[in-house]
């Protein structure tokens, strides 16, 4: 449905996006993750035709996309991170949607607007000026505006940022119902727990480079295809991680602030093995907890690996040491 190949965006000497290849399939919820300044928004802006790429190609619905392809843009809905309230604050919600319905030439616009306002529970306030709307109401209005012309794909930039728990749930339910209706959804967000619940596939970018793109389950399996046993201890002897790591079925050990995290395969209960070993060593496990890796763990691991890799490359680069000293 949407493909990018070797997408690059440079601002002078700074490369904001560096050769990104994405592939969004019809009917999926695709999460686009990355730390602040990773190049997420720049990538989205290029995919929407708002910013021209320095190099690379974007294909929308099987056709080459350039900013001049207004016909392809009609098939996209966009929900920005911040609703530009200032410019349209004098309009009512109804007038606001009518303007976009006219821009998109929505057939039977009045009925469609009513349907969407009822769906996002804003029909009762349709004649109120949007300047008086709360952040949550604006977000709902923004989503209904993006759905107005029945787009094939919906782009959302931080859709739940700043929303209260009820607003988050309503937005999540709305997106899930839209996806079940067959609409592809592309979400850029920092709310990793929500992304884990919503997305079928995710891509992680950092410093303009794509670090991973996979189905959610595959991405989580990169964390060791298993789970972690967190053991709270009074103190952690220096040789404990090495000794514990030598046991069969132990995939890795890391030291936590108040104990250790032992990575084990997902099958079987390995708590006995770990606690037995600790007791043998004269240690008293104060608390044992089995933790399944989350998207947040995957995100942190992958982005930290990338940073470490870049640092190692920079350290190995000839002349780097001289430059720094």
């Amino acid at each position: 449905m949407i493909r990018t190949r070797g997408l690059v965006k440079k601002y002078g000497a700074f490369t904001a996006v560096d050769g990104i290849d994405l592939n969004i399939e019809p009917g999926e919820i695709y999460g686009f993750l990355g730390p602040n300044g990773a190049g997420k928004t720049t990538t989205i802006l290029m995919m929407l035709g708002i910013t021209r790429p320095t190099a690379g190609e974007i294909q929308l619905f099987g056709e080459r996309f350039t900013p001049d392809r207004l016909d392809l843009r009609r098939r996209i809905g966009m929900v920005p991170e911040k609703h530009p309230r200032g410019s349209w604050q004098w309009m009512t919600a109804q007038e606001y949607l009518e303007m976009f319905a006219a821009l998109f030439r929505v057939p039977r616009a009045a009925a469609r607007i009513r349907f969407l306002l009822e769906k996002v529970e804003l029909h009762a306030v349709r004649n109120r000026r949007i300047g008086t709307f709360s952040h949550g109401m604006l977000q709902k209005l923004s989503i209904s505006r993006a759905l107005l012309h029945d787009p094939d794909v919906l782009f959302l930039d931080e859709p739940i940022s700043g929303l209260d728990p009820l607003g988050i749930k309503q937005t999540r339910d709305l997106l899930v119902s839209e996806n079940r209706a067959g609409r592809a959804i592309f979400i850029s967000s920092h709310q990793l727990s929500e992304m884990e619940r919503l997305c079928h596939r995710v891509a992680i970018i950092s410093r303009g480079k794509l670090l991973a793109e996979a189905a959610m389950s595959r991405l989580l399996s990169r964390m060791g295809s298993g789970r972690e046993i967190h053991v709270e201890l009074e103190s952690v002897p220096a040789d404990l991680p090495l000794a514990l790591g030598a046991l069969p079925a132990i995939q890795g050990v890391r030291v936590l602030a108040n104990g250790i995290a032992v990575r084990v395969p997902a099958d079987g209960d390995h708590r006995k093995t770990v606690s037995g070993f600790l007791v043998q060593r004269g240690l008293v496990p104060l608390r044992i907890e089995v933790v399944t890796p989350t998207l947040e763990d995957a995100f942190i691991t992958i982005t930290q690996e990338s940073v470490a890799g870049l640092a190692a490359q920079a350290g190995a680069a000839p002349g780097h040491g001289e430059t720094r000293t």
């Binding site: 802006l45 929407l48 035709g49 708002i50 910013t51 021209r52 900013p67 207004l70 016909d71 843009r73 009609r74 996209i76 966009m78 920005p80 911040k82 530009p84 309230r85 200032g86 410019s87 349209w88 004098w90 309009m91 303007m99 976009f100 006219a102 821009l103 998109f104 030439r105 012309h149 782009f155």
Partner: protein
């Protein structure tokens, strides 16, 4: 120019027009303009004695004629008043409205770019060009309606004071309309070149000051050092000045040359189109994002 873009511009123009008409700005500007016209028309009647029109007999006319004579020379003033006061009355009535429209265009474009509104519209079947064309179309509609109202007002004023409007004032209406359109196009260009609304407004003011200085130079200012500089500048920049083409129309009308008057109108329209074309190319290259 794609049909889709023009259609989007029409939708945006209607919304911007509604927004403008809901604000007090155009009514205040028009009221100020009409009040200025009334003051000038009343003063003109007071400044007529047995020897004819003497601007020194009315404070407002004395101030206006001295100021215009100082900036653009006595010949310019004589031509302005050759058929009575109504050419100046029309200009005075229209000036606040035109000023309001161009300022609001510049500020609106700047705030819409920085707030992300333009980006949101550009993610759909419109683009930056549709946006500024919408703003330009709004200015065209309001200018045309405002000038029609001003023309009617002048007829009423003339009848009340037992004066004649004169063909020169009528001939000035299309020139003023195209001049305001050219200024609006320049305002669009400035707001495309400078993202920040304040900066764009400052650039527009500087461009207008420069073009007026060039006009003053070409007409022959009174202060010699100013005249020399302005004349040199005018030779270079008069070809991109809407004031120059408006003056060309005035000269054509004064000299009885319908061809020169018509050519001035066509050139004003061409300059407007050129300014909008440059704005389109700049926006296409830079994008709508600030």
């Amino acid at each position: 120019m794609s049909r889709e873009r023009l259609r989007a511009a029409g939708v945006l123009a209607r919304r911007q027009l509604k927004e403008l008409l809901l604000s007090p700005g155009p009514y205040v500007a028009l009221a100020i303009g009409l009040a200025l016209g009334w003051i000038l028309c009343s003063g003109f009647a007071r400044a007529i004695d047995s020897s004819g029109f003497d601007p020194r007999l009315d404070a407002a006319w004395d101030l206006v004629t001295r100021a215009c004579s100082g900036a653009f020379g006595p010949v310019f003033v004589e031509r302005m008043l050759s058929e009575g006061p109504f050419l100046l009355v029309v200009v005075a009535c229209a000036a606040p409205l035109v000023l309001l429209l161009v300022i609001s265009s510049v500020v609106r474009m700047g705030t819409d770019r920085t707030s992300g509104a333009l980006e949101l519209v550009a993610s759909g079947p419109a683009d930056g060009t549709s946006w500024f064309l919408g703003s330009f179309a709004r200015d065209a509609v309001v200018s045309a309606a405002g000038l029609a109202l001003i023309a009617l007002y002048c007829v009423v004023l003339a009848a009340a004071r037992n004066l004649a409007v004169g063909p020169m004032a009528a001939a000035a209406i299309p020139v003023l309309f195209l001049l305001s359109m050219a200024l609006s196009a320049f305002a669009v260009l400035c707001s495309v070149l400078v993202t920040n609304a304040g900066g764009a407004l400052a650039l527009f003011a500087a461009v207008c000051a420069l073009l007026l200085a060039a006009l003053a130079g070409s007409l022959g200012a009174q202060v010699s050092s100013f005249r020399t500089g302005a004349r040199a500048a005018s030779t270079l920049i008069q070809w991109v000045s809407p004031f120059f083409y408006a003056e060309l129309c005035a000269q054509g009308y004064g000299g009885g040359s319908a061809l020169q008057y018509g050519a001035g109108l066509v050139l004003l329209a061409a300059l407007t189109a050129a300014a909008l074309g440059v704005a389109h190319l700049v926006l296409r290259r830079r994008g709508v994002r600030p």
